[in-house]
Symmetry: C2
Subunit: 320 residues, 2 copies
Amino acid sequence: MRMRIVVLAGGIGGARFLRGLRSAAPEADVTVIGNTGDDIHLFGLKVCPDLDTVMYTLGGGIDEEQGWGRRDESFRVKSELAAYGVGPEWFGLGDRDFATHIVRTQMLGAGYPLSAVTEALCTRWNPGVRLLPMSDDRVETHVAVTLDGERRVIHFQEYWVRLRASVDAEAVVPVGAEEAKPAPGVLQALAEADVILLPPSNPVVSIGTILAVPGIREAVASAAAPVVGLSPIVGGAPVRGMADKVLAAVGVESTAAAVARHYGAGLLDGWLVDTADAASAPEVEEAGIRCLAVPLMMTDTGATAAMARAALALAEEVRA
Amino acid sequence: MRMRIVVLAGGIGGARFLRGLRSAAPEADVTVIGNTGDDIHLFGLKVCPDLDTVMYTLGGGIDEEQGWGRRDESFRVKSELAAYGVGPEWFGLGDRDFATHIVRTQMLGAGYPLSAVTEALCTRWNPGVRLLPMSDDRVETHVAVTLDGERRVIHFQEYWVRLRASVDAEAVVPVGAEEAKPAPGVLQALAEADVILLPPSNPVVSIGTILAVPGIREAVASAAAPVVGLSPIVGGAPVRGMADKVLAAVGVESTAAAVARHYGAGLLDGWLVDTADAASAPEVEEAGIRCLAVPLMMTDTGATAAMARAALALAEEVRA
């Protein structure tokens, strides 16, 4: 039987890791539980950045350089919207990308749940994995910040894309998560998994949001499968993005060991840190999590596949 | 005081006539009551072809050659939608045009009526006229046809654009018109008009649909202002488009005189036919409608302005 691997994934980091995983384990049956907390309604359209990044990356449609959006993209629609005075201008929706959101919004409007819409979109992209949104219910991550001396709660995308996380995140709230239900297939996939992997996605706003949907954290923690994570922090800084900003909001240091302790031994069986952080392995192991140091820079698919192989090997070790 | 002119307009013909009218009477206060019967929902977006054609034409954004859509248009979104298997492919929505429909749909979704949305869109285009949809209520013209031996009722756009009116229209039904109310400002504009003009738009699916909204025909017929129309039929054939097909559906011959009689003396005070149809003027006059023959080919703005001047002169003649 094919090995069943379940991956909880955010956007760019999760998508790139998945590409390495598919290369490392081409025969595996991979289910991706995708973060939808950074979904946003723009121009009346439902935009799911993380689901799309996974879909485009694995389907060969991604802009490789920036890691999100479509390759060979143009911005005619956005420029026209701006001519109408309709924004936001800070969110880079390209023409090809717009088509995805138009199809999604039309199907949602016709009554299909997001999971069915995602499946339909994937019939075009053939990502080679089963991509499930964490929930069909609306969850939107909001961030509390102080701007010009005033406390405001803004959408995560505004914090991340418009402000480039340039101010402190005082709190991160996955609005709607408490009332959300896991999407069809999510709990079953976790229960039947042979291995569960947490790629080096953002521990707060990506994987943390997925785990905030009632039932998912419990399903991961109680799964028969070993759960192995890969540190998104290398040498005390996020490999990519600004994860340190949102880690601070939940009182977690930006170190590989602190993120492992944040997930906790109740969730994680194994943890991979970068060779630069090898010294922190004993601290992770003290917390009851088996820890190994391997190179964790996703410089290309080969390096990323090696990371995936190391994660699968660690899963076998902790299973035994 | 500025002369108040109200024009009932369809798409391409109406828009081009309006450009001539603005050139002929630059000081006039022009209100356009636009046909919305050819509106259609495509890809979950509300598309208003006639309103947009007027707006783009008077605002300088039209594709001059084809008479509809935006100039310098591209079709990236549509091509992506097709890659998702989402159609229809026969309706030519360009990227720039998509932006208009996205803004409109977003505003409608937020609760604004179509008249408010149209006004908002026009703040960008500055068409130099007040553009009112005939109604804020949904009206969609459907056409009964026989295809492969089966009687079907299809959307007017499918008949016009996909089938190119290649089969007979057995009936033309403005679905929803009976329950529709004139948009805010429509009846008042007609009541306060100094002149009411019917440009050479389609008498059935453009002007006929506007007149099918309860209250509008009565307001035109009972207006203090003279009502002057311009024949869309020259020499027994439509100047543009396939008006003969839908005229046949309502039992009207494709002649300048028959269209005048179709509108009737209860509605029309004056009627302009092309010089090629000068011989039919007595027949129109017998029906109680003052009729003059002038060149009616809208070859350029100058020729169209001359038509508008002739219509305004005829209005003054019948007023006196």
